[in-house]
Amino acid sequence: MSTSSFEADWRQSNGSAIIDLSGEINRSSEEALNSAYSEAVQGGAGSILLNFVQVDYINSTGIAVIVGLLARARKDSRTVVAYGLSEHYRGIFEITRLSDFMTIFDAEEDAVAEAPAQLR
C-alpha cells in the first residue's frame, strides 16, 4: 500500500523560516525535511517553525526523523518550534518529551510572534 506522500516546503516569515509539512511523517520523510531545513538555514533563518497543520499521520519513525532534525538544529544553534498539531500528536510530543525541546504553539500567529524571542 502506498502511504500518503510527504512534502516539506519552506517560506520566510518575520526573520524565521516556516517549514510547511504535509502528508505522513515517517522514515521516508527524512530527506525532504532535511533539505527544507538546510535551505531555510542557508536563507538565514534564526528560528525554524514546523507547521503541522497539513500533517495527518506521524509514526514512530517519523518521531525519529523529528528527533534527528532537532539534534541537527541544536548543533546549528537554531531554535525549533512547532504549531498546528492535533491534540493526539500534541499528546505524543509530550509523552516523548519532544515538547521539552521544541515549544509547541497552537497557531501560526502565536509561533511567529514568539519565535524571534527565542533567537539566541
Binding site: 502506498s2 509514526n59 514512530s60 532537532l70 505524543i92
Partner: protein, 568 residues
Amino acid sequence: MNPLSGATKRIGLRRGRQTRDAVSTALPDPTVVPETAGAPPVEIAPNDPVIAYFQSASGVVEIDSLQLSSPGADALRAAGVKMVVPLVAQGELIGLLNLGARLSEQEYSADDRKLLANLAAQAAPAVRVGQLVREQEAEARSRERIEQELRVATLIQQQFLPKELPELGGWHVAAHYRPAREVSGDFYDFIELPDGRVGIVAGDVTDKGVPAALVMATTRSILRGEATHYLSPGQVLERVNDLLVPDIPAQMFVTCLYGVLDPSSGRFQYANAGHNLPYVSTEDGEVVELRARGMPLGLMPGMIYEEKEATLLPGQTVLLHSDGLAEAHNPDREMFGFPRVMRLMENTAGGDELIDVLLTELDGFRGTAAEQEDDITLVALQRSPDAGLRLGASDDSAPSTDVGDQPGGANGDHDTLSVDDSSRVLDEFSLASEEGNERLVMHRVMEAVEELQLAGKLLERLKTAVAEATMNAIEHGNKNNADLPVSVRVVATDTDVSVQITDQGGEEQMPEAENPDIEAKLAGLQTPRGWGLFLIKNMVDDMQVTTDDRHHTLELTLHLKGDPDVNE
C-alpha cells in the same frame, strides 16, 4: 480392443473386419460369428455419416454403389468390403457384417442378399444380448472395485479411531461412531497432554472413500504432533492448518473442533475450524452452543482460529457431534436438525445415556429411510454431578437440580456456565509483511471498531498503537519478509476492545519497551529511533506480549470507558 466396452458400447463400429468370401463382423465375438484371422480392422468414427445410413438401411448395403462422402465408407472400400449387412436391434445399430468379394468372383445374388438380411435380423438381437451381458459383467467388476475401495477406506478410518476411551477422574466419557456405507471421513480422538489435561478432537473430512480416509489419517497425525507442542487450541489448529495446506488435495478440506479439557477444574478451552458447534448442557436443563470462529483446515495458509473457553461445572456435559446426526433426513426429506439435538440434550444426562437417546430418536425419526447418509460421530463428556460418585449407566433420572452454591443461582440463566458471552471477535485477518501495510491494518481495525462508537481520543490512540504494533511485527518479528503474515484479531467485550497482532518471529525474544532517552538522542549518543514499543505502551491501557517458539503476539487493550486521559 473390445468394441463392447466403455465409451464405444453400442457403436461397435470403430473396428470392423472383413475377410474374403466369408461373413465377417464388427463384433469379434467368436460365439456370435466365427472370426477369420488376418483381416485388418476398419475404423469408423461414431460421427461418420455412414453410421446413420447403415442404421436406417433396410437389408444389405452394397458399398461400391454408396453415394456418400464418408471416410468410413472409403475405409471399407479400401479394405475390400463389397457388402455390409447392418445389425440393428431395437432401432440401434449394434454392429456390421462385412463381406468381401465372392471367391467365385460372381456377384452376390438376390438369394444371397435375402439370406444375409434374414441372418442379420436374427443375429442382431443375439449380439445385443451378448453385448448387454458383457456390459453388466464390466459394471459388476467396477462395482466390486468401488466396494473394495470402500472397505479399504473404512479400514484406514477405523484404524485411526481411539481403541478405548480415556479414564478421566470425575468425568464420564462416552463416544459413538457409526460409519455410513459410503465413508466420508469422520474422526475423533483423545490426546493425553503432558500436564494431565486432555485434548479432544472431532473432525470431518470432505469427500469420500480412500482419499478422505488418507486425509483424515494425515490430519490426525499432524494434530497429535502439534497438540503436545502447543497449549492453546487456537495455535494448534493454526499449525495443523499450515502443515496441511500443502499436502491436501485441492477441493478437499477438514472441519475440526479441538478442545483442551482440564479434568480437575472443568476448564474447557476450544477452537473450531468450521466444525459443528459443540453443545453444553447445564444441570438446570439449559443447552448452549460453544461458538468459536475459524476456517476449515487445509484451505488457505495463515489462518487464525478464535479461542474461547468455558468451565464445565459438576453435572454439565459437553457434546461434540458430526453432521450425520443433525443432517439426517426422514423419508419425507425433513432434517433431524440442530434444534432437535439441543432439545434432546436438555432432558438427558450426559455420557452413554445421552448418546443412546440421540441414536434412538434418530432411528425413530429416520424410520424406513434408506441407508444412513453420512457418518455419525458423537462424543460426550460429563462432569460427574457429585465428585464422590461415578455416574452409573442406570442413572437415567432427570438431571440433578442441586446446583449447590454456584454463582448466580440456577433458574434458567446461563450463569452456571462461565462462557464469556460478551466477548466478540469483530474482525480477524492476515496481511503480508510489506512496508506500509500498517496503514491497511489501521484502517481495517478502525472499520471493525466502528460499531463500538469509541470517542475520538480513544480512536486516535488505538490507531497509533495498532500501526506501531504492526510495524513492529513486520520489521522486527517478520524481518520484512513479505511471505510471512502478520495476523490481526480484534475482540470486543462489554468493557474493553483488544487488538492482537501476531508475527512469526517467536524464536527471538521481543525486547522490553524501554523509555527512550531523548537527551541522549539529541546529543547524538543514541539512535534517534526506538520509539515504537514506548509509544504503544503509552497509547493503550494494557499491553501484553506473549511469545511461543514461533510467534510473538502483542495484545493491546483499551477500556471503552474510564479515564480517557491515560496520557496524563
